[in-house]
Symmetry: C2
């Protein structure tokens, strides 16, 4: 299970009650924060999501609407007496900014902050439940997307069935490893006959600020949920390109061509009071679209 709660869905300037980008991703094991615009710690509190549960924070790029809330969150975690390690991923200059702000405040964090500079595409973190990789997206400055893949669970033993085939409990460890069972009479009980397949691992891709870029399609193929920015409506394609952003139709085209199961769009420009037209336009191209709505939790 992957559940994503939207903490902010707006671009650049907070407007019409919409906050800058941040998403809180939960698995049954721990939580992850993706981007951290100004006010994220207040949004976490508003939606009763515990900062203490966050084990990893991923920052896509160093435009303020994606990270100005980070230093406040990091220092608040310390003031709240966090002890467990925190892993932070982002462009290398992020460490300089944090170090400088802690230094001038004569502050040290209570907990260990492991900073991981994003340098090349590939797996950056793995827990028991999830694997995270990063990939490059094309924006005005260095910018990264993130792909979350559940770890494939092994098949589980159907104990009643295994017993009915007279497979001894002492063999269960080997069954778990995928081996077949050979009876004394020479019959082979295939592993699949007495084990149950785990749920298919789910995938979530987060495409931070990006220009319309078809080279992304290969990286996003078949994901269960794709978050793709859609800063503008379709009539502003030129402006979107000039600012390295995307439109509704462009985000939906990527989703369609990558054959994703569902698309979520966000990062709406502050120029729009209503975001309803975003949904209508995206659905013209890709019907399985939802809007990133603050406070809403999307489960995969």
């Amino acid at each position: 299970m992957i559940a994503i709660t939207i903490l902010g869905n707006n671009s650049a300037i907070p407007a019409f009650g919409r906050n800058p980008t941040s998403q809180y991703l939960q698995t049954t094991e721990s939580s992850f924060l993706i981007d951290c615009g100004e006010g994220t710690q207040i949004q976490l509190s508003k939606y009763k999501l515990k900062p203490s549960k966050i084990s990893h924070i991923l920052i896509s790029h160093l435009h303020g609407d994606h990270y100005f809330g980070l230093i406040g969150l990091l220092t608040s975690m310390s003031l709240l007496n966090r002890k467990q390690d925190l892993h932070l991923y982002g462009p290398s200059a992020l460490k300089d900014i944090i170090d400088l702000q802690l230094k001038v405040a004569d502050t040290t964090l209570n907990y260990t902050l492991h900073f991981h500079s994003l340098k090349e595409e590939g797996v950056i973190a793995q827990t028991k439940k999830i694997e995270i990789s990063c990939f490059k997206v094309q924006h005005r400055i260095e910018c990264w997307g993130f792909l979350f893949k559940e770890i494939k669970n092994p098949r589980s033993i159907d104990i009643e069935l295994a017993k009915s085939f007279e497979i001894p409990a002492s063999y269960f460890e080997q069954l778990q490893k995928g081996e077949d069972y050979h009876t004394k009479k020479g019959t082979i009980i295939s592993n699949e006959a007495v084990t149950i397949a785990a749920n298919t691992p789910k995938t979530y891709a987060y495409c931070a600020d990006t220009i319309f870029d078809i080279s992304l399609i290969e990286k996003l193929k078949g994901v269960d949920l794709l978050y793709h920015e859609s800063t503008y409506l379709k009539d502003l394609e030129e402006r979107a390109a000039a600012r390295y952003h995307s439109t509704t139709h462009q985000a939906a085209t990527i989703a369609k061509m990558a054959g994703v199961k569902k698309l979520m769009i966000g990062h709406f420009s502050s120029k729009y009071e209503s975001i309803d037209p975003f949904l209508n336009e995206a659905k013209e191209v890709f019907n399985e679209t939802v809007l990133a709505i603050e406070g809403t939790c999307y489960k995969i």
Copy 2:
């Protein structure tokens, strides 16, 4: 007229709906922002106060709850196409932080930001209506208080009265300069007889985070409104001292000994859900006390 709107009254961590420190000070001429905790730009918008009216921003010190909202406000002003100059005052390292954050975002501001490093006590800015000076306060790191003094207006001419004394309009400029009028018959019409005194200039002192420090009294003598932090209730005097903060009784003692007209207390610790006890305790020492309440405008 000086009017102060409270945008945040909490210390350290946002809690119980209270935001970190920021105050918006208005004169009839322009507006000033004092400190800028995270979320200040959202608070400005909530209380319908225009960032475009702000001509000067003053940052007392570099603990996050007093400036983490600054970079967001500065960049939003630029995105909102601000053109007029902005004057920013604070400890010198503040400039390094802003420069670094603009550099990594590959961003330049649309307007000219004049950074003034606070180095010694005295007048730091003067407009037509107000003079601002800074003074040192004792905190864990370099920290400044600010004193706002209205510029004394000249006396205004009582035109009807001046005419009744047959003072020609051509002499009004000299009257305005304070000169008496000599009639042809040799009588002296004193300046005070035909001019009206302006209102007494008002004063506002902002004591940012500070330990209980009686050396402040001399600097705050007789101000109309004193903002003094009161992070803790009176029973936590030891904790207050250890953290270079003050209690209710200490803030009220400073107000009483400095003979100020009114005291406003704020910077309440996140440990307190209700702030009502702060008012009761401060009034035990100095009756003319008010709480800094978010969204409330205090006029002098």
